[in-house]
Assembly symmetry: C2
Homo-oligomer: 428 residues x 2
């Protein structure tokens, strides 16, 4: 196969510009690696005049991405516009209908419509590839679908939103409160236009839902992801966690058990000495656990022009080489619907609360925990502030249901001064 592979690129933000640079600068290398030239024939974006630092004059221009997707001189439609619906989805559907393969970085679109899009692509004999949609430059989709294909995957975990990890590690290193570091991140341009996508865990939740589908052969079920953002994490939590040898991370965890598919994207405590605990700043990390391979950890840049463009090119070059692995690693019509198992796997928890300075307050809390079947591993009471005392509890493994039962019972004791914060401690 020495015919050129012809790309049509829709969306010329930083990632699109990065792809143009790689295709242009690395023509010989890419041909050596795939056995055929890779060329861009046409592009599309909102504004034709904007200076993107790359020369687009060799490429045909389309104002409408749907038209781009349908062009006869395009073999692969590269979707880099973003947005779960609207033009991105319309153009992706048009590309499939016109018999094109699709490479996309669009996690929101795939988390919400991936099953349906993959089904129609596969019915048409085409593929939709998504390496760039998860964890930026880290080749995690390839590791899961191909590298570990001989394994039953047991658990997938990851820190997949660099902005949240930046905020949490910066809070710790600078001793600053959440609101202040959030504002810093905003000034630095680290946050999405709607910051809830980042700090609310939604963006990372999209990625987790995609990885879970690939890992377990289940239908993408973003709505079943238990989402909890980092907005309620205080500097106290971070410092007290550190004091006990833990770091707080916005951690995604997916596992398929007899109880169903558990998908959580929420703040967790992880051991400070674990690879996840040691992850600083905006870097991403994905942990894959297979029944034969054991634990594989992948670490790299989760965003940015170069890393995301590198992931886009990985999919493009696969197609150039004739590698046509399906979107979710197996045909979309074989993916199973899994029952959602919310926080079913037992875990130790970290509990922080403030108790009124009354005799026997701590004993009352311990009694309620015991009655709910939650056993205490460690407990610390800090020196009193006025008439109340901060208390920290690490439980033994328990279910979230038992813990919630205990927390509900705390109120009746009349000794709790502020609502308890409960954070799961993930065994990594």
């Amino acid at each position: 196969m020495t015919e050129p592979l012809r790309l049509g690129i829709a969306g010329l933000g930083t990632v699109g510009a990065g792809v143009v640079k790689i295709v242009r600068q690395k023509a010989n290398l890419l041909t050596a690696r795939t056995g055929r030239p890779v060329v861009i024939t046409a592009v599309s974006a909102r504004s034709r005049d904007k200076d993107r630092g790359v020369n687009l004059s060799d490429f045909a221009w389309e104002d409408d991405p749907v038209k781009l997707a349908q062009r006869d001189d395009v073999d692969v439609f590269v979707e880099l516009m973003g947005g779960a619906d609207g033009p991105a989805k319309a153009a992706t559907e048009a590309a499939i209908a016109a018999g094109k393969d699709v490479v996309t970085a669009n996690k929101a679109m795939l988390a919400l419509h991936g099953q349906e899009l993959a089904l129609s692509a596969e019915a048409a004999g085409r593929v939709i590839r998504l390496e760039a949609a998860v964890a930026g430059g880290i080749p995690v989709v390839k590791a899961l679908t191909e590298g570990l294909a001989g394994n039953q995957i047991e658990r997938v975990m990851g820190v997949m939103n660099g902005t949240c990890n930046y905020i949490l590690t910066r809070m710790e290193s600078a001793g600053l409160p959440y609101a202040e570091v959030f504002e810093e991140a905003n000034q630095l341009g680290y946050l999405e236009a709607d910051p809830t996508l980042d700090v609310g865990g939604i963006d990372a939740g999209h990625k987790l839902a995609l990885l879970a589908s690939i890992a377990f052969g289940t239908k993408v079920a973003f709505d079943d992801v238990e989402l909890e953002g980092i907005e309620r994490i205080t500097i106290d939590d971070i410092e007290q966690a550190a004091d006990m040898g833990y770091k707080i991370k916005l951690l995604g965890v997916a596992q398929l058990t007899g109880r169903g598919l558990e998908q959580r994207m929420s703040p967790c405590l992880v051991p400070a000495i674990s690879p996840l605990g040691q992850l600083e700043g905006g870097t991403n990390m994905v942990v894959l656990e297979g029944d034969h391979v054991g634990q594989i950890v992948l670490r790299g840049a989760g965003a940015g022009e170069g890393p995301t463009a590198s992931a886009v090119m990985s999919d493009v070059l696969d197609i150039a080489r004739g590698i046509r692995v399906s979107t979710f690693g197996q045909p979309a019509d074989m993916l199973e619907a899994a029952k959602a198992a919310k926080s079913a796997a037992p875990a130790p928890y970290y509990l922080r609360m403030t108790l009124h300075d009354k005799p026997g307050a701590l004993a009352k809390i311990a009694t309620v925990l015991g009655e709910s079947g939650v056993s205490v591993d460690r407990m610390r009471q800090y020196s009193h502030e006025d008439t109340s005392a901060p208390v920290l509890i690490v439980t033994h493994k328990t279910t979230r249901a038992a813990l919630d039962d205990a927390i509900a019972g705390f109120e009746a004791t009349g000794v709790v001064a502020s609502p308890p914060v409960a954070i799961r401690i993930e065994t990594v």
Copy 2:
């Protein structure tokens, strides 16, 4: 393609038995992922009677692996015998001549004969795949050849011999001398029959030479790897490095520069807080640096039944799916011969020596370093032991040639009581 893919497995040690288990236990999963059944038709090993914990009665038996490789009912010859020459090479050649694809875990064979074997396979339209030959279960070959295929690779680094990393981290944690921990590792069965393969860096050097070829599109040049084992590392080095914020690792580094291809497998100092520095025990880690993706770190088990069998299956399942990437990521006849550039890239060095307790001894050493163009970053003199004093020097970036010049000059000063130890500090 729904015809079964038929495997013939030569070598039924732990890895071979692991492959048999996966193929048998995961039949449905593998078919779902690849679209066709994967089956074992025939096996071969030294002894037919040995109990390997797996039932082999369904498979045809061949005493001679060459016969196995030639069987009509074998599509893929899985070579798990080991040994650079002899039966492994003969059977691999026979498999290619008979039109079979080959999957192998044999790093020694490929490091010495990979170019020639890949050429003949590619001339015959077949592939030789080698994921299991490097870093056990870590899908690093796939990450380099496919996941990062849009990048010019700038540097490859890795801790790829778990036994050496076990010895070095155990020396530190237990405060034991090399000889004692070596004996421990021996008792635990961690060492190869010829332990020089491990502690002399040869096994890890084979892996590095393969990764360098893939990363840079150069011919495999194991003979050009600068090899230095861990035998001379003392507990003093480890403790003094730790004192300055470093760990000592048997680190492979390959980079292609204007001066040529540099390949080193040698003890290096790395920052204690880096992912490489934090790697404890027998785990492997590979660091890949691409011009677009930046730094990607991969971590996992580098040996053992499950991890290595997982890597073998990755290649088998690729072939089942019709993925036929060439051994070194591009056709073997396109690989370039690169000039060997021995330790050409400048780096800071750690120098440890003992000086006679004479006035001006340290000044003499500093003068010799200055005359060779080596500038000193930090220097520590420890309290005297009898008539000599241990001295520790960290240099600024320098070439190995300048450093060797200085070390040669130390002798003439008459103040050096024991031969200096020089260890490179790798910027990671």
